[in-house]
């Protein structure tokens, strides 16, 4: 894992910063189905931009060399809107706490989470910094990235949500969740 962070922070991030001005976030899993694991979140304005940037990255010799030593990696494309990105940078950057990537299977929500979802989240003290839907899947699946001050706060927040009768009516089922801490070199939090 030190090698992976050395690659991400020392090789991948500097080059990505040169060629892409969009948001970038680096996380290190502390509870996830497969560990060790690092999560890189990068936002693009379009598919075309994503493909162009990924092509440049893949062609870079330093990255090719580093990737030859990596065991595995996988990517997922999420669709979101600019107003759902609530990242912090600079002095307001969150340095402590945890981040949870949580996915819901919710056919009743159709294309996007209904307003009642955000309302229920607010009542429970849950403030996603990313709300997105999975691209290319025929059953609706929604992903939230949520920052918490601690595991204890996280527990309390999800417990409050579970106890919320209006949330229960929204018929969402957790399909996966992973908990992370911020990588020290992450530009955003």
């Amino acid at each position: 894992m030190p090698h992976l962070h050395s690659y991400l922070g020392g090789t991948f991030l500097p080059y990505l910063t040169q060629i892409h001005r969009g948001p970038k976030m680096f996380l290190d899993a502390i509870v996830a189905p497969h560990t060790p694991q690092a999560l890189v979140l990068t936002a693009f304005s379009s598919f075309a931009e994503m493909i162009e940037i990924r092509g440049k990255i893949a062609a870079h010799p330093d990255i090719q060399r580093a990737r030859a030593d990596r065991e595995c990696g996988e990517a997922q494309i999420l669709i979101t809107s600019a107003d759902s990105l609530q990242f912090h940078a600079g002095p307001t950057r969150r340095r402590d706490g945890i981040f949870e990537l949580r996915a819901y299977h919710a056919p009743a929500w159709r294309d996007r989470p209904p307003a009642a979802v955000n309302a229920a989240f607010r009542r429970a003290g849950i403030r996603p910094i990313l709300t997105a839907s999975a691209a290319g899947e025929h059953v609706p699946r929604f992903t939230f990235l949520v920052a918490f001050e601690s595991l204890a706060v996280r527990q309390e927040a999800w417990g409050s949500l579970e106890a919320d009768s209006e949330w229960s009516e929204l018929e969402a089922k957790v399909s996966g969740a992973s908990i992370y801490k911020l990588a020290p070199y992450s530009p955003l939090s």
Binding site: I30, V31, P33, H34, T35, S150, Q155, E162, G176
Partner: protein
């Protein structure tokens, strides 16, 4: 938000060794991914020819409201482990074979039965980088250390077993392969439990596991034709309704059975090249005649176990050897029989379906081991390296583990119904006597993946007897660590590190 925690592997294997150190470089962790073979960087022995111990590493996995979350380490939780190891062989019944009531007591003349039980009691450690030793157990007043536990930097549990010390404080003779009064060894087993306090939560007891600390695995690349994983999978099917696919996969179900049979050529000259026809059915589909020719060699598990049949495969002895051979109070000596041990019913059905053409042809070449550590994979990797029969009395554990003890879920024993020492108490005491005896016994082998009959030394095309130079029970007790380990060398599997 209710969390549940479970310990994996559900049954872990920590093998004994006579190298005395306990620092990380002094042992190696056993397989954690199915199909992998662990070869320590500097071999299985130290520079003095002493065998390194194989550690069992246990991990906690968490589910939140039924959703699998992943491994729980000390970065997010306070984890307190408790392990108890015991060796109660000498206080248990004599082994007389399975299928009958247990025999008379071992050491029947000893009235203080507790003096025969090596029971240092439980040890508890919390947090990362902890350690505790099982050094207070006694046999007839003599100290018998059984090993130790540690936690690594992530709070995972590491169990190390005993040192291969067997002895008799009363200098009793070694007279039989299984029951030797006055003797002890230092294999052991016992429960593994943990309390997990996730930050912001109350302490929760994890679903417990078990650890067995048996003899070394001298032939790591050779998998048992019937592994303990196969045997306990059948238990799960029979007792817990665990579903297995009705249509087997060639790659995942059929090929491993064929491959294990082929690999036996490296551990017994009696197989030699006789399994070459198995190569002809790989890759699939082969012809119906070819598949049937292989299948017809297999003993049907529904056949009465003491009956000789022309279906001689697998070529290993039956659980019911005592009855077949008329020994141990089972009639008169009655040699000339060959009742062999069948595949499990699930394995047999896999082969039956394959022979009938009812299988998924998913072959793209021999499957490579995975790269991810998973909860179920931890259990499978541990158990597929153990013998699943015959249990006469067996290598790592006894027929009680398969036939008697209760399970709360597949492969997970009900620890509330068992005591430390229960999984090894019916094994031979000391283990070396059975290990000495379990060589090829015409016309069948015993456990060639555990005790090879014949092997190839490096740079030789001729079989040699694996335990050459050891000529008695006492020799095995004194010199077991000089036996060679088998390793992959190109397309061959050869003997290395022999120092006898």
């Amino acid at each position: 938000m209710a969390w549940t925690f479970k310990i994996f592997p559900a049954i872990g294997i920590a093998r004994i060794g006579n190298h005395l150190g306990s620092a990380p470089q002094d042992y190696y962790v056993g397989p954690e991914i199915p199909g992998t073979v662990i070869v320590p960087p500097d071999g299985y022995k130290d520079s003095s020819g002493r065998v390194l111990r194989q550690a069992a590493r246990f991990r906690i996995y968490g589910w939140e409201k039924g959703v699998f979350m992943g491994e729980i380490t000390s970065s997010v939780a306070d984890i307190t482990w408790t392990v108890e190891l015991a060796n109660t062989k000498a206080a248990f019944n004599q082994f007389t074979g399975i299928g009958e009531p247990t025999g008379p007591l071992r050491n029947a003349s000893v009235t203080d039965r507790s003096s025969l039980m090596i029971t240092p009691g439980p040890r508890t450690i919390a947090g990362p980088n902890g350690a505790a030793v099982f050094d207070t157990g006694l046999f007839m007043g003599t100290s018998v250390p059984l090993g130790e536990i540690q936690t690594d930097s992530s709070g995972r549990l590491v169990v190390l077993g005993g040192f291969g010390n067997s002895g008799s404080p009363s200098n009793a003779p070694l007279t039989s392969f299984d029951n030797n009064d006055g003797w002890h060894d230092d294999v052991s087993d016992g429960p593994v439990t943990a309390t997990v306090t996730l930050q912001g939560n109350n302490p929760i007891q994890a679903s417990g596991a078990w650890v067995i600390c048996p003899l070394p695995r001298f032939a790591p690349p050779i998998f048992h034709i019937i592994s303990l994983y196969d045997a306990l999978l059948q238990v799960a099917v029979d007792r817990l309704g665990y579903p297995v696919p009705s249509t087997p996969s060639f790659t995942n179900d059929v090929y491993p059975i064929l491959q294990r049979a082929i690999q036996y050529q490296w551990v017994t000259s009696k197989i030699g090249n006789k399994h070459a026809p198995l190569q002809a059915v790989i890759p699939p589909p082969a012809t119906t005649d070819q598949r049937n020719m292989v299948f017809q060699q297999l003993r049907d598990p529904a056949t009465t176990p003491t009956v000789d049949t022309p279906h001689l495969m697998p070529a290993i002895w039956t659980d019911y050897f005592a009855q077949v051979f008329g020994i141990r109070g089972h009639g008169s000596p009655n040699t000339g029989h060959w009742a062999n041990h069948p595949l499990t019913r699930t394995q047999y059905n896999v082969m039956k379906n394959w022979a009938a053409g009812n299988f998924i042809n998913d072959w793209v070449g021999p499957p490579a081991p995975g790269t991810n550590i998973t909860p179920d994979g931890l259990t499978r990797a541990a158990l597929e390296n153990c013998s699943g029969g015959p249990f006469f009395p067996g290598i790592e554990s006894s027929f009680f583990t398969r036939d008697v003890y209760p399970y709360v879920e597949p492969f997970r024993l009900d620890g509330t119904q068992l005591e430390a020492g229960d999984l090894t108490k019916q094994q031979a005491v000391p283990w070396q006597t059975d290990f000495f005896d379990c060589v090829f016994q015409s016309p069948l082998s015993w456990w060639p993946a555990a005790h090879p009959d014949d092997v190839f030394a490096a740079n030789s095309n001729n079989y040699v007897t694996w335990d050459r130079g050891l000529n008695s029970f006492s020799d095995m007790v004194n010199f077991w660590s000089g036996l060679g380990f088998l390793v992959q060398s190109g397309d061959s599997i050869i003997e290395t590190e022999r120092n006898l």
